[in-house]
C-alpha cells in the first residue's frame, strides 16, 4: 500500500465537501440544502476511502447519504408549506456574530494544528494487514462486544422512541 496520498484527489474531495457544506448553509430552499448534503457526505466517503477506511466509506454512503438524508427530505416534505422557497433563511442579525465566532474558532484550531509538534507525521504509518472489514468485525464481536450490544439496544430504543413520539402516545 502506498503511503503517499494523492494530493489532487484530496484537494478535490475537500473542496467539494466544503463547498457543498457551505451550500447547505446558504441555500434558500431547504430541499436543496438536503440534496447538497448528499454531495457533502459522498465526498466525505471519498476521503474515508483515501485513508484506508473503505468499509466506513461504504457505511457513510449507505447510512448518511442514503438513509439519513432521505429521512430528512421526507420529514421536510411532510411539514412543508405552500412553497419551499425561502424556507432556509438565515437570521440576519446573527450572521456577523456567528461568522466571527466560527471564523475565530477555525483559525485558532488551524493555528494549533499547523504549529503542533506532536502530531504524527506520514512517515511512521504502519500498513494495516488484511482488509478492514474483517479487522472491524474482529473488534466488534470481540473486544467491543458489549458496546456493540448496547448500540443495538440503543437503536431499538431510538426506533421505538421515534415511533411513539411521532405517533403520539396519548392519542386514542
Amino acid at each position: 500500500m502506498n503511503n503517499d496520498l494523492n494530493p489532487a484527489l484530496f484537494y478535490f474531495l475537500a473542496a467539494v465537501m466544503l463547498l457543498s457544506a457551505l451550500a447547505i448553509v446558504y441555500c434558500r430552499n431547504l430541499v436543496y440544502s438536503a440534496l447538497f448534503m448528499v454531495v457533502c457526505f459522498l465526498s466525505i466517503a471519498g476521503l474515508y476511502a483515501m485513508i484506508s477506511a473503505d468499509f466506513l466509506a461504504a457505511v457513510q454512503i449507505m447510512v448518511y447519504a442514503g438513509t439519513i438524508v432521505i429521512l430528512i427530505v421526507l420529514c421536510i416534505m411532510i411539514t412543508r408549506r405552500t412553497t419551499m422557497e425561502r424556507t432556509n433563511m438565515p437570521e440576519k442579525k446573527y450572521i456577523l456574530r456567528a461568522s466571527v465566532l466560527a471564523g475565530l474558532l477555525f483559525f485558532l484550531l488551524a493555528y494549533i494544528f499547523v504549529n503542533s509538534e506532536v502530531l504524527p507525521t506520514t512517515n511512521n504509518i504502519i500498513a494495516l494487514s488484511g482488509d478492514t472489514v474483517s479487522g472491524l468485525a474482529d473488534l466488534l464481536l470481540g473486544h467491543y462486544m458489549l458496546a456493540f450490544e448496547i448500540a443495538a439496544v440503543l437503536l431499538l430504543a431510538a426506533m421505538i422512541g421515534a415511533v411513539v413520539l411521532a405517533k403520539g402516545a396519548d392519542e386514542k
Binding site: D4, L5, P7, F10, A14, M17, L18, A21, I24, V25, L30, I44, L47, Y48, I51, A53, L56, Q60, V63, Y64, T67, I68, L71, I72, C75, T79, N88, P90, E91, A98, S99, L101, A102, G103, L105, F106, L109, A110, F113, L119, P120, T121, T122, N124, I126, L128, T132, L136, L139, L140, Y144, A147, A151, L154, L155, A158, M159, G161, A162, L165
Partner: protein
Amino acid sequence: MTIGITHFLIISAALFCIGLYGILIKRNLFSILMCIELMLNAVNINLVAFNHFLPTPNLSGQLMVLFSITVAAAEVAVGLALIFRVYRDFQTVNIDKLNSMKG
C-alpha cells in the same frame, strides 16, 4: 508537500466551523439538525484520520466512527420524530417561536 494529518484536521475543523455557523444563524429546526450532522461528520473525519496516521496496530478509531454513525442514526431518528411532534403541536419548526422554557 504530502498530504498529512494536518490537512485532514484542517478540513475537518473547517467543516465543523461551517456546521457551527449554520447552527448559530439558522432558525429552521431541519437546517439545525443538518448542521449538527455536519459537525458530527467533522469529528468522524478526525477519528478516521488519526486511525490512519497514528502508528496504531488496529482499527479502534474506525470502530469508534462506526459507533458514532450508529448513535448519529439514532439521534436523527429521534430528532426528526421530535421535530415532527413539535410541528404538529406548535404548527411551526421555527426555533424562535418555541421558547416556553424562557426563564
